[in-house]
């Protein structure tokens, strides 16, 4: 059973969390995530969930609490944004290194200074090497769907890694959209009960978690982590297919839009993928063979799928809602370029940094990226590889 409802992104994720009914949630409020936890706190107060809801004094504590809960065998969740995510930094690595299947929604917001509460991806992009699986959402429906799938991916016995799902601050978190939601029981039946192999509360089988690990073993443990996240591609795809059977909405690592006969393409993630689809539709009417690839999963990075989809292109553009100071372009650009290096006759790849601090990006601006690509595909030399879209000179 499913029903069509109108919810904000925050309410949609809060609702997904209610349906998951986690054992433990620990959280600290930060804009624009606050309303997500506000919503979930309502469910706790109204007795609609069995969750032990822990109000902590910081995000460092929130992540510490869910780490403790997860190590004790609980299904544990949290949510945060921006500076709160940054304060969790140290513990993000601990959660992944200890192989704890925590799930977290991150409502993307710019990092200070100056203080800005609006959307960009510099928070989660900064945490991309922490060992978490990262799934980005284009709209409220996806934020809801990704939250439910995240639990199933994280708790897969061959994976046991934390998963963060993201939704763009305000653009999704505070915007009401219609979406399909499942019946709560169907969600719980689908994700199943969490029965961890080990629990710190199991005093008959004691074990030590997160001990000292020096020159003699640390490297081997990091090598294990590299292996397991690389093995998670198949599980993410499998869970996306199973979810498709349940809901009719199937998910993959990447989503291709009008790519069959496309000659130029944008690679993007998050809510601006929706704006880009609109631009592609308009360009198609103009006779321009535009296409788009949305990266749903950024960690692990779907390099094989991109290689397959992009190897015949002459020019592509990567849009980054994040700046990586001192790097040659944004993080998505870097990854896409690395993925396509070494193939025969790779495309020209240009980068556009856009939308920092919630700066609106219009369909016209996205169209201008395609016009730039078209000129390059017709033989014009690339003027700048790293561009800033929508910034005043």
């Amino acid at each position: 059973m499913s029903s069509i409802v109108a919810l904000t992104g925050n309410d949609a994720v809060g609702t997904a969390m209610k349906q998951i009914n986690p054992d433990v949630v620990a959280a600290f409020p930060i804009t624009p995530q606050t309303e997500l936890m506000h919503k979930f706190a309502d469910f706790v107060a109204n007795g609609e969930v069995d969750t032990e809801f822990v109000l902590v004094e910081s995000e460092h504590s929130a992540m510490s609490a869910v780490i403790g809960a997860s190590a004790s065998g609980a299904r544990a969740m949290t949510a945060t944004s921006a500076c709160g995510f940054a304060l969790m930094w140290e513990l993000l690595y601990v959660a992944a290194s200890c192989r704890l299947p925590i799930t977290m929604a991150v409502v993307n917001r710019a990092l200070s200074a100056n203080i800005n509460i609006h959307c960009d991806h510099s928070d989660t992009m900064g945490g991309r090497d922490a060992g978490w699986i990262q799934i980005y959402s284009e709209n409220t429906q996806e934020a809801y769907d990704n939250t439910i799938q995240a639990v199933k991916i994280a708790e897969n016995p061959s994976i046991l890694l934390p998963v963060m799902i993201t939704l763009d601050g305000f653009i999704l978190s505070h915007t009401t959209e219609t979406l399909n939601i499942l019946d709560g029981k169907d969600v719980r039946d689908w994700i199943g009960e969490y029965n961890p192999k080990r629990s710190l509360l199991d005093i008959k089988n004691p074990f030590t978690i997160g001990p000292l690990d020096l020159q003699d073993y640390y490297f081997e443990h990091k090598r294990q982590q590299a292996e397991v996240i690389n093995n998670s591609y198949d599980v993410i795809v499998e869970v996306g297919k199973e979810y498709g059977k349940l809901t009719g909405r199937e998910y993959d690592l990447i989503e291709k839009y009008m790519m069959e006969d496309a000659e130029i393409a944008v690679i993007i993630l998050g809510s601006t993928a929706g704006t880009t689809k609109e631009a592609v539709d308009i360009l198609r009417e103009e006779g321009i063979k535009a296409g788009m690839i949305k990266l749903r999963v950024f960690r692990p990075f779907p390099y094989k799928e991109l290689r397959e989809a992009l190897s015949n292109f002459k020019v592509i553009s990567v849009l980054d809602r994040c700046i990586s100071f001192g790097a040659y372009g944004g993080p998505v650009f870097n990854e896409v370029k690395a993925a396509l290096y070494g193939i025969s006759s790779p495309p020209e790849i240009t980068n556009y940094i856009y939308g920092l601090g919630g700066r609106d990006v219009s369909v016209e601006e996205i169209k201008s990226v395609y016009y730039d690509m078209r000129r390059i595909s017709e033989g014009e030399k690339v003027k700048e590889y790293i561009n800033y879209l929508g910034v005043r000179e």
């Binding site: 200890c98 978690i209 001990p211 640390y218």
Partner: protein, 95 residues
Amino acid sequence: MSKELGWKKLPMGGIIEEAGNANSYETGTWRSFKPVFHPETCIHCLFCWIYCPDGAIIVEDSEVKGINYFHCKGCGICSRECPTKVKSITMEQEF
């Protein structure tokens, strides 16, 4: 942890599956100063045994018999707490 396993054989997530195995982990190599026991002046008050954070004072029949150098990290608390004026445990340079 004397046999060094490769990454494929290690338990997941760097956990230690076996309880109480600190006993088999050699921390004696961390020492730069080494406690040296002088039995001729020892009054067997067992202050060193009580204070030692690593249980590295060897006691038999309520008498101090020596130091377990496999575990002793050389912190020097035993020597500091020793109440005899001449110090029945003295710290000496290890290298």
